[in-house]
Each structure stands twice: as C-alpha cells, then as structure tokens.
C-alpha cells in the first residue's frame, strides 16, 4: 500500500490537540508552581529562630538580632546572616542588637510593627520610586537590602547628617524629614510619615533585609567606593 501525501500542518485537529495540550500543561504547571512557592515563602516564627531553622522569610522577631549579609561558600553567594556568623556564612541566631533601645520584642509586638510598616509603605507608595524585593521603580535606591547599606552604618554619612547615633534612629529621622537631608539629586519628598509609622517602616526594612533572595543583589554593601563617607573630625 502506497502512502498518500497528507498535510498535518494544515490539519485543524493537530493544532486543536496541540493547543489543548500546551494550555492544559501550562495551567497545571502554574498551579504546581503556586503551591511550590507558597511553601517556600511562608514566614517563620520565633520558634524557628530558637531552633536555628533557616527560613527564606524569617520571623518578624529578627528585628531583635544583629543582621549581616555575608558570603556563604556553600551557597556560592551572600546570604542574610541573623544573630552572628559561624564563620562560614551561617546564622547563629545568638547575637542580639538593640532596635530603638530594645532587643526583646515579642512575636506579637514585632508582627504588629512589621504590619504597620507594610501598611505605611503601601499607603505612602514607596514603590512609586523605590524597589522592594524586585517590585517597584528604580528612580530611587533599591530598598530590599537598605538596612545593610553602609551609608547608614557607623562610618556612613547618614548618622552624622541626621545627628543620630543608631542606624534605626537615623533612618526614622530621615523618613520623617527627608527634605531636611539632601542625599541625592533626586530628593525624597516629604510624605508626612509619622514617628510611629517611621518605626514600623524601619522594622519593615530591617526584616526585608533578612529575607533570603538567593544572593540578589550580589556584592551588596561591599562596594565601598559607591558610598560617600562623612568626614569625621
């Protein structure tokens, strides 16, 4: 029997079945990915910290701990290190750090503070200019790891400029009166942030810096040339 020449490419059924397969597969894939992601981004709690369980999104109570961004050789990039480094870029969950004079925020208090910060960041529309975890604009600096920015550290210019002696106080002061502290050609407008909101926002920023973003942004805070240091007397 000789085979007839047929055109599968111009056959309707071939395309119908292909489209059904691709659409169906893509839908199932998206549903699977959604559940896969939900497991990965679920927020931890203080028990995880007590048990030294590393979560991608740690408990809000990390505001009680010292936060660094160090190289982890196993992971091959920098990771948020909470409460001290074991020397290999792993969190020890031990070293505390005062946050507005306290390092004993309870789960409830820390959650409430973070919630206030999140609401304030949405109400003031930070993302209009800034980027948070990859979402937003690049008109103003990326805030994902803002807490770790050396400009706010002991040797950075921001504490001297705002006249505050801690990172969190300097940030809160700047957020309330951005017009007073010209840091950028693109100056931040005064958004009417209240002192309470400012504390919440700084807690929100500190917590965001502890979220494991698989090393993004790479080498953050290590490019010292990118920071204009205040001249000390």
């Amino acid at each position: 029997m000789s085979r007839k020449k047929v055109s599968v490419w111009s056959d309707n059924r071939f395309w119908q079945r292909s489209a059904t397969w691709v659409t169906g597969f893509a839908s199932l894939l998206l549903i699977w990915l959604t559940f896969d992601t939900m497991g990965q981004i679920s927020m931890g709690n203080q028990k995880d910290i007590d048990n030294h369980v590393v979560k991608r999104v740690p408990s809000a109570t990390v505001i009680n701990y010292k936060v660094e961004y160090n190289m982890n050789n196993h992971r091959g990039h920098e990771v948020p290190v909470i409460g001290g480094d074991d020397g290999k870029g792993n969190s020890l969950f031990k070293v505390k750090e005062k946050f507005f004079g306290r390092d004993d925020y309870s789960q409830k208090e820390a959650d409430a503070l973070l919630h206030l910060g999140k609401l304030a960041s949405q109400a003031k529309n930070c993302m209009d200019c800034h980027t948070l975890l990859g979402n937003g604009a690049y008109y103003a600096p990326d805030l994902t790891k803002a807490w770790l920015d050396p400009a706010w550290g002991k040797n950075g210019p921001m504490q001297a400029m705002t006249g505050k002696s801690t990172k969190e106080e300097a940030m809160a002061e700047f957020l309330q009166h951005p017009g007073k502290y010209p840091t950028h050609a693109r100056m931040m407008p005064n958004l009417g942030i209240t002192p309470k909101e400012a504390v919440g926002l700084v807690a929100f920023l500190k917590h965001m810096a502890t979220i494991d973003t698989n090393g993004f942004p790479r080498g953050f805070g290590k490019i010292k040339e990118g920071v204009v240091y205040a001249k000390t007397k």
Binding site: R3, K4, V6, S7, V8, D11, R13, F14, R17, S18, W21, V22, F25, A26, L29, L33, D36, G39, Q40, V54, K55, R56, H74, R75, G76, D212, N214
Partner: protein, 50 residues
Amino acid sequence: MIETFTDINYSFFGLLNQGPLTLSLFLHLLVVLPMFWIYFQEKKRLESEN
C-alpha cells in the same frame, strides 16, 4: 549543567534551575515532545482516512 543543590528550601523547580537555561530547556522539552506524538498520530489518522 546541573550543579549541587544549594538553595534553602528543596524544590523540584529549584533543582532544575541550577544552571543556565536548565529549567527552560526542561519545560520546553515537556511541552514540545508530546506534540511530536500528536503530530504522528494525526498523520496516521489522515493517511488512513483518505
């Protein structure tokens, strides 16, 4: 092409995403390969119909 898995949470997609384009190549293979099967099935059907 596929390196040691180092991400915090173990994930099937994370495992496939350890090298350049590995996740993309895998998913495209999954989408395209069954289309060959559909193609030959339809070809057979058309040949037997005519």
